[in-house]
């Protein structure tokens, strides 16, 4: 019997799990010991049901719109498409409060829609508080991301299969069935989990647009326990409950659909044969028009900050920008390295060691991380490292670490599938050539992973760049990021300057994505 080889990625995963577990244990220990297992009373029950329903609906709608957009975009070529694709990758980064204000600026009581209707002589009143508001905001934030990831997946269908489809005379329906759908199905479970978790944890949006205290998620209860009741043990238990729910959902989705073996070759932009189908032309026009009408105004409303840009240009802004960029770069690198390590370990166990169960377990770790409430994680880590580190520096260390861990699931989604592909394609070859370790990484993996790594870095850096959750805990006169400046203004009645900052945050995120896509294309 061969001893199971321990992979570097295993160690990394253990380290992450241990770090998180220690954080939880410290939180539990600081509780007075009087806390027992929480019971799920009627309040929690209501919160849980609502969380499920709103997250489920948000996921369905985000996936629906995102996939429809991706298919329409895959079939159509038009000027400005590249910029549009870059934009799609950035909506996720919008600070929640900016998203809330954007939704209201368009669909609110005095929003653009209401004003246009009124100018047409309509006398009613619009209220989107409740499900409509929550769903609009969640779809606005997530559907473009879904579209981006799905489109990347669609582009991986090998050119040979497209030629075969042409040669065999596939109809549009058959093209969808045999080319698009298998590609979509490969991405769906992962994406669904990601979007579901994000919506399940959504907090400020749900409260602001929910319209009533029944519209609260588990994250609200955790926040309450942590910040109002100061019942850290309860917060930790609630957080564990959330992790458990999310892991179960992730497992269920993993079980329903497993990733079919990847088979891809690179191909340049190609004219799809089904682009000529007039029914699809109509469908795509409807989808793109709907997407434009729905997302366009929301994105445009962020531009209202333009007028106040001159008011915020000062040295503080430059300093905060530098701080934000530094933290984002560290968090992004951390997330990408961890994703690489875990991805490599999963691959190692699935293929070389043929232990798919262990691999599936490792595969779950990044998703599970997403389920951990950042407040609870931060508080736990704070307790852990406080004895050894100077007060003033704690924020500097925890900020990139927690942001990096939070962004890991996203990086992982980009990187892990490509690592697997590299193995499926060149694994036996490199094995027979005796390529191992760094040489193998450089020659076999690097060329395959380079592009997704660049995309992952841009996204994770941008996510960390837009983070407010953690900086709120550690920010202060000495540690200020751009989102911190934004909230500082919101707290001081300066709403217009805040919207200008929101615009700057988005612009930087957009530029990050743009640069990364340039860099990653340069090597093709």
């Amino acid at each position: 019997m061969r001893l199971r080889q321990l992979h570097l990625g295993d160690a990394t995963t253990f380290a992450i799990v241990a770090l998180v577990a220690c954080g939880f244990v410290s939180l539990l220990r600081i509780g007075d010991g009087g806390t027992t297992l929480i019971s799920i009373g009627p309040y929690l029950q209501r919160v849980l049901i609502f969380s499920f329903v709103q997250a489920g609906l948000s996921t369905l709608l985000s996936l629906g719109l995102g996939i429809a957009l991706a298919l329409a975009l895959a079939r159509r070529q038009f000027p400005g498409k590249e910029a549009l694709l870059t934009f799609l990758g950035t909506t996720m980064v919008i600070p929640t409060i900016v998203a809330v204000f954007a939704v209201l600026a368009v669909y609110g009581r005095n929003g653009w829609v209401a004003q246009s209707l009124k100018s047409l002589g309509w006398t009613g009143s619009i209220s989107i508080f409740g499900y409509p508001g929550i769903l609009i905001a969640h779809v606005f934030l997530n559907a473009p991301f879904v579209a981006k990831v799905t489109l990347d997946g669609l582009n991986l269908v090998p050119a040979e299969q497209w030629r075969l489809a042409t040669s065999l005379g596939f109809s549009s329906g058959q093209i969808f069935r045999h080319l698009d759908w298998p590609a979509l199905r490969a991405d769906l479970p992962g994406l669904a989990i990601l979007v579901f978790l994000l919506c399940f944890k959504s907090f400020a949006i749900v409260l602001a647009l929910g319209g009533g205290p029944s519209r609260a998620t588990l994250e609200v209860a955790i926040y309450e326990a942590l910040k109002v009741d100061l019942d850290f043990a309860r917060a930790a238990w609630l957080a564990l409950l959330q992790v458990a729910i999310c892991v179960i959902i992730a497992l269920a989705l993993h079980g329903v659909v497993s990733r079919p073996p990847a088979a891809t070759t690179f191909r340049g932009p190609m004219q799809r044969v089904d682009a000529a189908d007039y029914r699809l032309k109509i469908l795509d026009s409807v989808i793109l028009l709907f997407g434009l009408l729905f997302l366009g105004p929301l994105a445009l409303s962020v531009l209202v900050g333009l007028g106040s840009i001159p008011d915020i240009l000062d040295l503080d802004l430059v300093g905060a920008l530098m701080t934000s960029l530094t933290i984002a770069a560290i968090a992004g690198s951390l997330a990408c390295s961890l994703a690489l390590a875990i991805g490599a370990a999963v691959r190692h166990h699935r293929i070389a060691q043929a232990s798919p169960r262990w691999a599936a377990l490792l595969d779950l770790v990044p998703s599970a991380l997403l389920a951990i409430p950042p407040f609870a994680l931060t508080a736990g880590l704070f307790l852990l490292i406080r004895p050894w580190i100077d007060q003033a520096r704690i924020g500097l260390i925890l900020l990139p670490v927690v942001n990096g861990l939070g962004a890991l699931p996203f990086a992982y989604r980009y990187i892990a599938p490509r690592l697997m592909q590299a193995e499926e394609r060149y694994g036996r070859l490199s094995e027979s050539l005796g390529m191992r370790g760094l040489a193998r990484l450089k020659i076999v993996d690097w060329p395959m992973v380079q592009r997704p790594l660049a995309s992952a870095f841009a996204l994770t850096a941008a996510l960390s760049f837009g983070d407010f959750g953690i900086i709120a805990l550690f920010g202060g006169p000495k540690l200020r990021t751009l989102p911190y400046l934004l909230y500082e203004r919101l707290g001081a009645y300066r709403f217009e300057e805040a919207s200008a900052l929101g615009l700057i945050i988005l612009t930087v995120a957009f530029l990050l994505a743009q640069v990364s896509s340039r860099l990653s294309h340069a090597h093709d």
Binding site: L164, T166, P260
Partner: protein, 232 residues
């Protein structure tokens, strides 16, 4: 007879200009260095590339205006021929009916075809579970079952080991005689087909450099020495 007359295709850094005839029922091997224009020739015949000028006819019929699906051509690529989510039988059936709604007789034909390539018992397998050689046999079965008289194979067996490669070429040879189809096959190693092909063309820099019997072309290749190595 397939006739190619002065078909010209240009890219910023490459120009191809083909003239060639291939007799009915023969096996024509296409050799030449990588990047020399073998695949472009085959893609043009199948309809994936359109020449700017020239004529492409089969049995006197102009093929150029026809889309790939209406040409009398079935194609097999080096890789990615099969749809991983469909079973082996379904992959073959695509050649008969892309809708996969098959009559009982058509289903029987699919199974017989699988039998002919030696994969009768594999009908329910998924391509992911099969070896590279087996996958190419499935692709070959699909090309044959489509009933199209021209079969284009683009380096179909280059990734297989030499022994398996020769076995596969023998299989192609047997089947094309039995079903009386014309085969155009690009290859990496001309020696493999020397005893089965009636015709061989050497394509260099987008042009037909040598055209004739395999023996003639092979000897030409070695006469040319290092200036035009057939394999890269």
């Amino acid at each position: 007879m397939l006739t190619i007359e002065n078909c010209r295709l240009t890219w910023p850094d490459f120009t191809a200009d083909y003239s060639l005839t291939i007799d009915e029922g023969t096996l024509c091997a296409v050799a030449g260095p990588s990047g020399g224009g073998k695949t472009t020739l085959l893609h043009m015949i199948a309809g994936f590339e359109t020449p700017e000028c020239g004529r492409l006819t089969y049995r006197g019929r102009n093929l150029l205006p026809l889309p790939p699906s209406q040409r009398p051509v079935a194609i097999v690529f080096q890789d990615h021929n099969l749809f991983p989510h469909l079973s082996v039988a379904e992959n073959v059936a695509l050649g008969l009916r892309p809708s996969l709604r098959l009559s009982a007789a058509e289903m029987t034909a699919v199974l017989e075809m699988l039998d002919a390539v030696g994969l009768r018992s594999y009908d329910r397998r998924k391509p992911g579970d099969m070896s590279g050689g087996q996958r190419q046999r499935v692709a070959l079965a699909r090309a044959l079952i489509s009933g199209r008289p021209l079969i284009v194979l683009d380096e179909p067996f280059s990734s297989l080991d030499p022994q398996l490669r020769r076995d596969m070429i023998r299989l192609v040879d047997t089947l094309r005689r039995k079903r009386n189809v014309t085969v155009i096959m690009s290859i990496h190693t001309p020696e493999d087909v020397a005893d089965v092909a009636e015709q061989m063309v050497l394509i260099i820099d987008g042009k037909v450099a040598v055209n004739g019997s395999p023996a003639k072309v092979v000897s030409c290749i070695y006469d040319r020495g290092s200036s035009a190595k057939p394999t890269s």
